[in-house]
């Protein structure tokens, strides 16, 4: 199914943002908040893994129902998971389209990666001390 993906700040994202190696930060920023009807249609329960495909690739997140989200849109806390699929074009303004990406969402049977795994996929090297 196609959705409009909006990213934004949340308290939990803010609380964990200073500790990006923590599982809490990974959990918060890999949450895909959806309308419960959309979840039903995709056969998803809270916490199920979903593959979110955007203009720049795909990433696995976990679905969570939210009353704040409209049908047809999903909300993802600002962070490395959303950015894994956001296009870098800024329409020459310096600012990417963080709040207006069309994405495809389908159930997935793998776990979301850890933040450092995402970084390693892109050529980084995890620091784990």
């Amino acid at each position: 199914m196609t959705f409009l993906m909006i990213t934004g700040r949340t308290v939990n994202q803010g609380v964990t943002v200073e500790n990006k190696t923590s599982p809490e930060y990974a959990a918060e920023t890999s949450t895909c908040f959806m309308h419960e009807f959309d979840m039903m249609e995709l056969g998803l329960d809270d916490g199920d893994a979903v593959r979110v495909t955007g203009p720049c690739g795909e990433v696995v997140m976990r679905a969570a129902a939210s009353p704040e989200v409209e049908m047809g849109t999903v909300f993802v806390p600002y962070g490395p998971y959303a950015n894994h699929i956001v296009a870098a074009g800024t329409r020459s303004t310096g600012m990417p389209d963080f709040k207006s990406h069309e994405v495809e969402i389908e159930p997935a049977d793998e776990e979301p990666k850890l933040v450092h795994e995402l970084m390693e996929d892109l050529g980084g090297l995890a620091y784990d001390r």
Binding site: R9, K20, C56, T90, T93, M95, K99, S100, H116
Partner: protein, 429 residues
């Protein structure tokens, strides 16, 4: 030991009424701060010493080695990018500008991915604003447009708007109306007197419609505009016109959606229009700590608030070209120094792919997402916790942050000053 009136280093509110209790060199309790601030004060797991990436291993190095590495990297680069700056003090930002000027690099701060579009709009039409206390003491109407203070600036409501006592308001909670405009019904919308729900991407149209209605041209407006009925728009326009003092606070819901700065421009022009009828102001909900300070410092030193390219010696400014996301995505830099931010967590992947290809040095107290792309990371004192200096609040009020802890870590300013000294020496030779 208890430190009173400490300044919170998390968001652009810079709450300066925080009490921090310190025992044996650790923060053990924080009073008055929101959850975000408290967590920041209590932060642990700092990086112990500078690290260098050698192949697929991390090796500990000394500060001297790390500083030398950074200086050499920047001196050798044809188009170095110096990015971040919102998480550090003005004093460090000044050294950053001097470095960019010396090595003919590009210096950009995190506003390019938060309120850079707001700045572009202000550069077109100006900015009728005020300090937060003016709103607290006077405003009987507050509009949050595309901003969600409960999540992003938790104490904004209690210190300045919804729950704040004000000199000219007998009963602030009752006498002050709050309107929230957003594409989704956020928690902030739940505490508003009126919620305007806009279809995604429809802010610009709604703002144009409101401007026309304020001018008395409601009849030409279609029955609904981006999901909002004309009746609601007329009601809101009337609420605005009949307010004694109205204040708009807008957030990334306007800067990050289609049209970017044109949305902000339209909002500012709405406020200018309303200023013909009553008192109205508009302000950006600046997010990251001292991001406004990075704009201020860059402006008095280079003339421009962000995205400054010194490649040719003189300052050149053109967001969309000289801003970090564009430069990285287009692979237009060949080295990067990151200070006081974490682009790997906040930039689209394509930018990170380029970071992986070029030498990167980062100053940050903690291991973060960008660490993975670093050749060298230099741990520093946490600005506003074990380093003191100047930060600018979202409304432009400069505050000196207090040091609540002492540590052996060097501050950003000290590390940068060492790098700068080495670079000056090399250039003079």
């Amino acid at each position: 030991m208890i430190v009173k009136d400490a300044v919170c280093p998390f968001c652009g509110c810079l709450c300066d009424d925080i009490e921090v209790e310190v025992e044996e060199g650790r923060v053990v309790a924080v009073t008055n701060a929101c959850e975000l601030g408290t967590t920041k004060f209590m932060g642990e797991k700092r990086m112990k010493n500078p690290i260098l990436r050698v192949g697929d291993e991390w090796k500990d190095i000394t500060y001297d080695e790390a500083v030398k590495y950074a200086a050499d990297m920047l001196l050798a680069a044809e188009r170095p990018l110096l990015y971040g700056w919102s998480g550090t003090h003005g004093e460090a930002q000044c050294v950053g500008v001097h470095m960019a000027e010396l090595i003919h690099g590009v210096i950009d701060n995190t506003s390019s991915v938060c309120h850079g579009p707001s700045i572009l709009a202000i550069q077109e039409v100006g900015h009728p604003g005020c300090t937060l206390g003016v709103v607290k003491n006077r405003a009987d109407l507050v509009i949050y447009w595309g901003s969600n203070p409960i999540d992003a600036h938790p104490r904004h409501l209690s210190r300045y708007t919804r729950y704040a006592e004000g000199f000219f308001l007998e009963n602030a909670f009752r006498d002050r109306k709050v309107i929230v405009v957003d594409v989704r019904k956020t928690e902030s919308a739940n505490i508003a007197d009126e919620f305007i729900k806009i279809r995604p991407g429809g802010d610009y149209a709604v703002l144009s419609a409101l401007r026309a209605i304020v001018q008395g041209k409601a009849d030409t407006i279609p029955r609904t505009v981006a999901g909002v009925t004309r009746e609601q728009l007329v009601r809101v326009a009337n609420l605005c016109k009949s307010a004694k003092f109205g204040a708009v606070y807008f957030g990334l819901g306007l800067t990050m959606t289609q049209g970017k700065y044109k949305n902000i421009r339209n909002a500012i022009e709405l406020v200018s229009e309303l200023s013909r009828h009553t008192k109205f102001t508009i302000s950006a909900m600046r997010g990251h700590y001292n991001v406004y300070g990075s704009n201020e410092v860059n402006t008095w030193m280079t003339g421009y608030p962000f995205g400054i390219d010194f490649s040719r010696g003189i300052a050149f400014y053109n967001p969309g070209e000289t801003t970090a996301v564009d430069i990285l995505a287009r692979k237009e830099c060949d080295a990067a120094l990151i200070v006081g931010s974490d682009p790997a967590a906040h930039f689209p992947r394509k930018c990170l792919e380029h970071l992986a290809e070029i030498p990167v040095v980062q100053l940050d107290p903690y291991p973060n997402a960008t660490t993975a792309f670093c050749n060298v990371q230099i741990p520093v004192a946490v600005t506003g916790i074990d380093a003191e200096g100047t930060a600018y609040r979202m409304d432009g009020v400069p505050i000196r942050t207090r040091r609540v802890l002492s540590s052996d870590y060097l501050s950003d300013e000290e590390v940068l000053a060492r790098m700068y000294a080495l670079m000056q020496e090399a250039r003079e030779r």
